[in-house]
């Protein structure tokens, strides 16, 4: 087992006008030992044509789908739910 934690639960969403958003939840060693769910998602935005990719940093939620200005974000804490958010841009610049 990795001494630092592991990535799991890969996610993938196409954001029109921005690129392909790839995501992985990260579960720390402490969370594994405590049998807790991951609380961090790491993301990269990929250029669909070239495959060039740039990190989007760490977020608390997993983006499961984007449609126009609406996006779905999966949260687990304090209970499993999906939040629907509206933003003026399809995806903010990091």
């Amino acid at each position: 087992m990795s001494p630092h934690g592991v990535h799991l639960d890969a996610g993938l969403t196409l954001i029109e006008g921005r690129g392909v958003l790839a995501m992985w939840a990260f579960r720390s060693l402490a969370q594994i030992e405590a049998k807790e769910a991951p609380t961090l998602t790491q993301m990269v935005l990929i250029d669909p044509v070239t495959g060039s990719a740039i990190s989007q940093g760490n977020q608390a939620t997993m983006v499961t789908d984007v449609r126009g200005s609406l996006r779905l974000e999966l949260s687990e804490d304090p209970f499993p739910r999906v939040e629907v958010h509206r933003s003026p841009l399809p995806w903010p610049t990091p």
């Binding site: 990535h7 890969a10 991951p38 760490n58 449609r67 609406l70 209970f79 939040e83 903010p92």
Partner: protein, 270 residues
């Protein structure tokens, strides 16, 4: 709170070691030698995962919340595995703890629940994926190697047809009228399959991990796909063990691969 991988079944095939050094008789995975090559590979780093999560950048407004802590049963979730827009106003939710598909408005109002436990029409073992067809039908992939079609009727969505398949689709998407699914089989190394409009496999492509251990290949191959109709591409992300995203043309030609160089995974030996 729980979050489980949907790939738990194949994990049983594997052995995870805590030892950093494997003996000569052991083969360690992932091994770069088994990763299917690409004409263009781009490396990217995710960065330090030890820091706290940043709040989402940019202005955004909460439109609705789907799910409650102590509300009606239809709004209780145990382990959400997919949440997707069916159209601009409807969201479909799959939960690993219930054999159904729940539909909600974007404001969080429960609209309808499709399916129940069982083996008959309109019944599921475990729904794995849901997608809306260009003609408005709902396609729901089940662990029981099938896709069931539902069509909107006066009383809500009604079961119309069941396709029996040689695999259990993990993810589905359309390019125009063409349906593509992500699924793995012991017999074939490919992970993307195109189906006809009556559920027959007409093309398979996309190799990702080609080790002698089929169980590990399946684990990597059970990922997700997204269709890009404008660019006529299909994107695939590996399910686990690899930080790997690939773009394929509809003909199956691999265009590029993104490799996450700091992806952290359990070392698997066989």
């Amino acid at each position: 709170m729980r979050r489980h991988s949907s790939f738990g079944s194949t994990l049983l095939l594997l052995a995870v070691t805590a030892s950093p050094v494997a003996s000569q008789a052991e083969r360690r995975h992932p091994d770069e030698a088994f990763i299917a090559p690409a004409p263009r590979t781009v490396s990217v780093t995710l960065g330090d995962p030890s820091g706290k999560a940043s709040p989402p950048s940019g202005r955004r407004t909460l439109v609705g919340t789907i799910g409650t802590e102590n509300g009606p049963e239809a709004t209780l979730f145990g382990n959400i595995t997919q949440a997707t827009f069916l159209d601009d106003s409807t969201v479909a939710i799959l939960d690993q703890t219930t054999p159904d598909v729940r539909l909600f408005s974007v404001t969080g109002r429960h609209l309808e629940t499709l399916g129940r436990s069982g083996g008959g029409p309109g019944e599921f073992q475990l729904p794995l994926a849901v997608v809306s067809s260009p003609s408005g039908e709902l396609l729901i992939a089940d662990l029981r190697r099938s896709i069931q079609l539902f069509r909107a009727g006066p009383q809500g969505f009604e079961h119309r047809q069941t396709w029996q398949l040689p695999f259990s689709p993990r993810s589905m998407c359309f390019v125009g009228q063409r349906l593509f699914v992500n699924a793995t089989m012991m017999e074939k190394p490919t992970v993307i399959h195109e189906l006809t409009d009556d559920g027959k496999v007409i093309n398979s492509f996309g190799e990702v991990y080609r080790s002698p251990n089929t169980g590990i290949n399946l684990q990597v191959g059970e990922g997700r796909i997204v269709c890009d109709a404008r660019r006529q591409l299909i994107y695939f992300i590996a399910g686990s063990l690899l930080g790997d995203v690939r773009a394929f043309r509809l003909t199956g030609e691999l265009v590029w691969r993104v490799r996450v160089s700091d992806y952290r995974n359990n070392i698997v030996t066989d």
